[in-house]
Every structure is written in C-alpha cells, then in structure tokens.
C-alpha cells in the first residue's frame, strides 16, 4: 500500500503530481491510499516534508513511459476534486489509471466511474453556482475617490472558495471586496486577487442600509396568487437561508399569501355595488317643461351670485333626446353666446361626436352649473372651478332637467358632472368607460371633460386620450341601440 498525503483539501496540484508519478510507476489504484493533511494517521515521515505530500519518499521509481491524460478528462477530474467526498482522490486516480488502457473512457457517459465523477462535478458546479448567486455583500465604507468596499460571509458546501475568486474579480472589478468563508478568504483591491485564511461570521458587518430596500423588493415581487414553496426550496434550500437577508421574510410571506388572495377576490365582488349605493332616490318633480324650468332658475334668488356671470346658460337640444351630456359650467364664450358647448371644448366635443357617429340631433347638452364662474384679471375673465356648494345648489335643477328630458343614457363629462349626477366625488379613471345603472332605468357613463383633452401637453398623449374618449362615446351610443 502506497500512502499519499496531500497538503490540503484543495491540493489539486499535489494530486496531479502524485498521480503522474504513480502512473509511471504503474501502481494499481487499489494499492494507493489518499490522505489529506500533515498529521494524517499515516504521515510517518516527519517534519522535513513541506507542503506537498509524500511522493518523494513513497512513490516507487518510474517503470513506464510518461502517462497520457486527455486535457478534457483532467479538467473534469479537477473540478470533481473540489468536492468534500473523501473518496474523490481515489476515484480520480482510478479513472486516469483506466484511461491508460481505455483513453476514450471519459466520452462514455454510461461508465460507472464516469457516472460517479459526473455526480461529483455536478454538485461542485451547483455549489459554485450557488456561491455566485447567494453571496451578499455589505458595504463597509468608501475611500476619498469614492471607491467602495464590501465584505461578505459565505459557507460553501465544498472546497470551492478559491475557485470562485476570478468570477468575483471579473464582476466586481470596480470595487474592493472581501469574501470570508470558514475555510479560506478571498479579496480584491483593484490590483491583486489575494487569498487568506478562513474566518467567522462575526468578522463581517451585520447590516447594510440597502438591505431594507432589498427585502422590500423581495416582498413586493412575490405573487401571492401562485405560492409554490416547494419550487423555491428546491433551488434555495434552507441551508442557505441563514446568510440570505431576504430569507427571514419567507415564513411571513407564505402565511399571508392566502389571506391576501382572498381579500383580493372579495374586493372584486363588492366593487360593482359601490356606485349604486351613492344614488339618492329621485326627488320630487316640480316642472313639466324646460322653458318654465329655466325661467324659474333664472329668477331664483336663493343662492349668492357674486362670483358668477348673471347670464343663465340653459341646456340645448331636443326636449326628448335619448342622450344627455352633462359638462361642468359654461365658459367665457358660452356665457357670451348664452349657449352651452360653443367654445373650444364644445368644438372638440362636436368633432368627437361626429367621429364616434353619435347623432348630434339626438343629444341634449347641458352643464352641471348653469352660470359662468370666474375671476376678473384685467380685461380677462378667468374660469374658476365651481365649489362643491355650487354644485350642490345646481344639482337639484339638473335633476329636474333630467326628469323632463328622460334620456336613456347620460354622459357625465368630467368630475363636476359626476358629482352633480351622483352626489359623490368618484375618480374618473376608475369609473369611466362602463354603463352604470342610473335612476329611472337610465344608464350613466362617466368620461373625461373635453377640456381635459385640450390641456394635455403632448400630441401623442392627446391622441391616445382622444381615442379613449371616442370609445366612451361609442359605448354610450351602443347603449341606445340596446
């Protein structure tokens, strides 16, 4: 029996040299005993031997020619030798020994020795891959030039620390870093890749400010609708969790997943009802025709008028129109003309109605507030938004107007109209583009005010919003046919 003592678990060069000598001496694999470390049981040669094992003393003189080993095979073996399996050195030697008579052995994936070797190198590759993936750096500071320094603690399963160093150098070239493992440490300072002794977890800082953001990200990117903890565990086994800051969140996220899902579905089922709840019952009917309605409103003195133009701008269109459009309030031009929707917004509405093939003769157009509210700036009268109180006041009149016209579809243009028609401030974006049941069997469709389209800064953006508006109008129109 020939004993070979290698200098360290990762003494691959030592194994290679010993294997070469053994092959030349034609020693059968069964006659070699591979050991690691100076104080191995069989290390009887004393202290004079330095790093690499006992080949000088123990290996018999060469008997044959220089052995030939394919580079590819050697590469495969050397990867496998990083494994923690104590049998790996013997397996490697057995394969190179067999390769002397069967040089193509490594090409046969069904060979049992090669199968085992493949098993070892597979777990090495996996361990290396996981180290690439799961090392977590923590920042410890930066120098006067802004070059930052980071430290990480990691516990690989096999003897791979030195093997991964080039990967980290090539990736994190622009920063200083140190990775400490129980067996060895590796470091980069921008110039040299250094290796050093192993260390402990306490050598490494325990926090980093960015970690909170990383955890927030981890929690947010997870989809509770598709919990698959098994798949997660297969790729990120629990043994790695202790050094992954995000892993602390896993139990909580898993527990909450189902609750979050159910809440989502419940919310959906109640959402449809919400808007109906805001409908107050229809109020008493006071007028039978539009003329007397507007006359009464014009004469009414029960509401302060200071901020408003005295001109009343009534609705316009057939008194039995199937469709009613409600805007906010008349503008400067409407006020001067005494007619609704004649300014730029009105022109846009006309164009849109034509484009969406809504028959203008079937439409009654009016405003939530019937007078122009403004502030005077020099010669100009600047539009001022009606207050909730203003809307409340005119609301009753709008409802009378609706009861006389009895439209099948009411289109609320913008937030003020929505408030006037429903008594609530509803978000346009959330509630638009759907036919909502309204009083007396009518449908309410919420959309934007045409002046919103005019205010958009960007041409392309305008186009998108305009088309959306057209689709809303078309939807309103389609409700008529139905």
């Amino acid at each position: 029996m020939i004993r070979i003592a290698l200098a360290a678990e990762t003494d691959i060069a030592g194994w290679r040299d010993a294997a070469r000598g053994l092959l030349r001496a034609q020693i059968a694999p069964a006659d070699v005993d591979w050991q690691v470390g100076r104080d191995s049981l069989f290390d009887h040669a004393g202290d004079d031997r330095s790093s690499v094992g006992g080949r000088a003393n123990d290996i018999p003189p060469p008997r044959g020619p220089q052995p030939v080993i394919s580079k590819e095979l050697l590469r495969q073996i050397e990867t496998a030798l990083l494994h923690s399996d104590p049998e790996r050195f013997a397996l490697g030697y057995r394969i190179v020994y067999r390769a002397q008579s069967e040089p193509k052995i490594f090409l046969n994936p069904a060979d049992p020795d090669m199968h085992r070797l493949r098993g070892l190198s597979k777990s090495i590759r996996r361990d290396i891959h996981k180290m690439h993936a799961f090392v977590r750096f923590r920042k410890i500071g930066s120098d006067e030039n802004g070059r930052e320094s980071f430290v990480a603690w990691f516990e690989p399963e096999h003897h791979i620390t030195l093997a991964v160093a080039p990967f980290f150098r090539n990736r994190f070239t622009g920063m200083n870093w140190l990775i400490v493992t129980p067996e060895a440490s590796i470091a980069w300072d921008g110039q040299t890749l250094a290796t050093g002794p192993g260390g402990a977890k306490s050598d490494v800082p325990q926090e980093d400010a960015v970690e909170a953001e990383w955890k927030a990200y981890y929690g947010a990117i997870f989809n509770p609708a598709r919990l698959k903890t098994k798949a997660m565990l297969a790729e990120m086994p629990a043994k790695y969790w202790k050094n992954l800051p995000e892993a602390a969140l896993i139990p909580g996220l898993t527990r909450e997943a189902e609750t979050r899902m159910n809440a989502m579905i419940d919310k959906e089922q109640t959402a449809a009802i919400a808007i109906k709840d805001v409908m107050a019952p229809a109020q008493a009917h006071g007028f039978t025709d539009l003329d007397s309605l507007y006359k009464a409103l014009s004469a009414a003195t029960d509401y302060p008028q200071e901020d408003f133009s005295p001109t009343l701008v009534p609705g316009e269109g057939p008194g039995d129109a199937p469709m009613m459009f409600v805007g906010e309030q008349p503008g400067d031009q409407e006020d001067q003309a005494g007619r609704p929707f004649v300014g730029p917004a009105g022109q846009l509405l006309d164009r849109a109605l034509a484009a969406a093939s809504v028959n203008r003769d079937q439409a009654y157009v009016t405003n939530a507030v019937k007078r122009f509210k403004f502030v005077q700036r020099g010669k100009r009268r600047i539009h001022s938004k009606p207050s909730n109180q203003d809307v409340e006041y005119y609301r009753w009149w709008l409802e009378q107007e609706r009861q006389i016209v009895q439209p099948q579809v009411i289109v609320a243009l913008g937030a003020t109209a929505v408030r006037a028609l429903t008594g609530k401030s509803l978000t346009i974006s959330r509630n638009r583009s759907q036919l909502i049941d309204y009083r007396d069997g009518a449908k309410l469709l919420i959309t934007v005010h045409p002046s919103y389209l005019l205010r958009l800064p960007d041409g392309a953006g305008q186009k998108v919003e305009y088309e959306k508006f057209l689709r809303d109008l078309a939807m309103a129109q389609s409700a008529l046919a139905a």
Binding site: A220, I221, L253, N431, G461
Partner: protein, 413 residues
C-alpha cells in the same frame, strides 16, 4: 400626499412589475469588467440570486419606471382606470438602485419597463436614458432588459438596442381581436411589425459583428415576448399557433406564458379566477416541444379536447399515447429525431444516449445512469435487456402515466 422615498416607490413599482413572467438573464454575450474597471459581468447562462415563495427566480431588478399609464389594458393592474397607488422613479433613482443592488450581489441586472406616461416617445426615451447612463456613466457590465413600447419612434428602439442585452415587446394576447378588445390602445399588427423591425436590426448587427469585431452590439440577447393565458377566450391551439408564427416569423428568442392572475382592482370584463397554473405549465412544455423536439403545432394539438392541452399528462406523453404505432423506440438504434419523441427523455438525455451507445449496447441500468429516472420512459423504449411487451397496448397506460393526483392548482376546491 407626502413625497415617497426610494423604498416606498420600490415597493409600489416592484409590485406593479411582478405580473411580467420573464426574469431571465441568460442568452446574452459573455462580458466582464476586467478591462473597463467598472462593475458587472454576464455569464451567458444567467444566475438566479434568490427565489420568491412563488418559486420564481429572482435574477433581475424587475421594476417599472412608473405605474402611471394612459393606456387602459384591461388585464393590467396599471391601466388608467385602476385605482392602485401610483409612483414614479426618476432616471437617476433607477440607475442608483440598480448599482446599489448589483454591488451587493442581489441581482444580475435590470429589467425595466414602464407605464406610458405623457406619450410613448417620452416614456421610451426615459427607459433608454436609464440604460445609457448605466452603461456609460457607471460602466455597468451587468444584464439589461428593456421592455420597449411599440407605439414609440423606431429611432428610440434603435437606441435601446445599443445599451440593452435584451429587448422585449409584449404581444399580450394571442389574437388581434383579443388585443383590440382588451388592450384598446394597442394594435396587433403594429406590435408584430415592431418585432419584425427589431429582429431585422438584431440580425443585421450580428452580420456586421461577424465582419468586424468593432461593429456595435445590438441587443445581443435577442428579443422575447409575453402572452397572457386565460384572460380572453383563446384556446391553447390558438396560443401555440401564435407562438409558432412568432418563432419563425420574427425570430423571437422566447415566448413567455403568464397565466392570468387575478389582480387587485381588476377590470370588470375579466374572469375573477385564474386559469389553472397547470395550463401555463403545459404551454411551456408544448412550447419546448416546438423549439427543441421537432414537433409541429398540428401534432401537439391534434388531440387536444376543445383546443386545450391535456392537464393530466404532459403534451409529449399525450402525443405518444395517441401515436403508439411509432413505439417502442430502440435506444440502441433509433435516430436522434425519434429519440427526442420518447416521453421522459429530454435533449440532454438524448445526447447522452447517443454518446454512450458508441461504447456498447445500452441496458436499462445504463439508461438509468444517463437519465435521472426511467419510470416514464420504460413503456416506450427497447434496451438491450428490456422490451415493454404488451404494456404499450395496455388500456391502463394513460392512467399510469398521468400525474399523481396532486393539485398544483391553488384554487381548486
């Protein structure tokens, strides 16, 4: 409203991005920072830096620049009519966050998309700016995937390809009609045209690179797309036909399938419940058959009931069950194309079988060493010491080959 800090924005904008299935950092060129002195490398294979409890690989920082969107795609949580909390990153915030995460080894790079804010061009320009800043100011060598906006100016797309490893354009739904119904601002023909342009540029850049190493790279990781499954009525046949067309027609690298996931504040037109996750899984398997096993869509869906893939057995098995006359396949003799059709035998397994049989006739024990398990395979193969005999004709075969009655579907009663 108080101003949101970076962490709050991140929470909102990562949450909004999670419905995009792709997180791959693979398929690009190999690159490192050794000569640039910067930060970042790509290995070509991609690395998953973490896994979420939903089993998804976390490889990239997958976020939206903003979830404010003027479009109104019904299946999307960011659509203009949804009432989710909105947030917007600045270009610098995304750049810094990416660098901060990357330096701590949390990620392989950035997957950035965005709701459409102000206009398609404006948004696309911001996305390009992020990528450009990372590459040029920070000498960032990690992976960048930009989701591009088909409605934006093609010149912006051309810029994006200079900095990104991968570009993607989501086709979203399998048919133009479904797109028109559920994503009214989008257009199927425009999406396909943009994809085709993109593919043209990618190929062109590759040709130039072959002539000169100095020619600029253009999206070396190719382009991909995502299709949502189960939001509209399209069946698996329609979905796979669309994929096949995209693979051959516009040179796509990958089609991702994303089972429609009930989203908070969903549009009323969508189903409330998700389709079974198994359906998505089967589509991925079928997609794999298209790309690697040499099957045609016709073969895969020939026996699909109502145009849907069988949920109980994988599509390759389903094909074998319906085509028993083509089996058993002799592992020691059959050509590669036929080996690829054996249930349970993957591309790697086929390679191993072909290599190993040069050294001698394979027995079942050999096959076991080459492939992880032969359970699925046995009724379909002949080995030196193995013949399935009458099993192949057994009525029980389907039942034996069906997946164990374990539910992958969270929502099944």
């Amino acid at each position: 409203m108080a101003k949101l800090d970076r962490l709050q924005k991140l929470t909102i904008l990562a949450d909004a991005a999670k419905y995009d299935a792709s997180c791959a950092s693979s398929g690009s060129i190999k690159r490192n920072s050794k000569s640039s002195g910067g930060i970042g490398s790509t290995t070509g294979m991609g690395i998953c830096h973490s896994y979420a409890p939903d089993g998804q690989c976390i490889s990239l920082l997958k976020i939206l620049l903003t979830n404010v969107c003027m479009f109104d795609c019904h299946y999307c949580i960011n659509r203009s009519s949804s009432d989710v909390r909105r947030a917007a990153f600045t270009v610098d915030e995304v750049v810094d966050l990416t660098m901060d995460f990357y330096k701590r080894n949390y990620i392989e790079g950035l997957f950035l998309s965005s709701g459409i804010i102000r206009s398609p061009d404006y948004t696309m320009e911001m996305l390009v700016q992020v990528a450009k800043k990372l590459r040029i100011e920070h000498k960032f060598g990690g992976y960048i995937h930009l989701k591009t906006i088909p409605e934006a100016d093609p010149a912006l797309l051309a810029d994006a390809g200079l900095y990104a490893d991968r570009l993607s354009i989501n086709i979203e739904l399998p048919s133009d009609a479904a797109i028109a119904e559920f994503a009214p601002e989008k257009s199927g023909p425009l999406i396909r045209k943009t994809m085709a342009d993109l593919s043209g540029r990618i190929t062109e850049a590759k040709v130039e690179r072959r002539k000169s190493r100095k020619a600029p790279l253009f999206a070396p990781g190719g382009h991909s797309t995502q299709m949502i499954v189960g939001a509209d009525a399209s069946d698996d046949a329609a979905i796979l036909q669309t994929s096949a067309k995209l693979y051959t027609g516009v040179g796509l690298k990958r089609v991702y399938y994303s089972a429609f996931s009930p989203i908070p504040d969903a549009s009323k037109r969508l189903p409330l419940a998700a389709p079974p996750l198994m359906r998505e899984h089967r589509l991925y398997q079928a997609d794999w058959m298209l790309r690697f096993y040499g099957f045609s869509v016709g073969e895969i869906i020939a026996n699909a009931q109502g145009g849907l893939l069988d949920l109980d057995v994988d599509p390759k098995m389903a094909w074998a069950l319906m085509n028993r006359q083509s089996f058993p396949v002799d592992l020691n003799r059959a050509p590669r194309e036929m080996l690829l059709r054996v249930p349970g035998l993957g591309t790697k397994g086929v390679g191993a079988v072909v290599r190993a049989r040069r050294f001698g006739r394979l027995r079942l024990a050999d096959v076991e060493r080459l492939c992880r398990s032969t359970r699925k395979m046995r009724p379909w193969i002949i080995a030196e010491d193995w013949h399935p005999g009458a099993r192949l004709d057994s009525d029980m075969l389907r039942a034996q080959m069906a997946r164990p009655a374990k539910q992958m579907d969270l929502f099944a009663a």
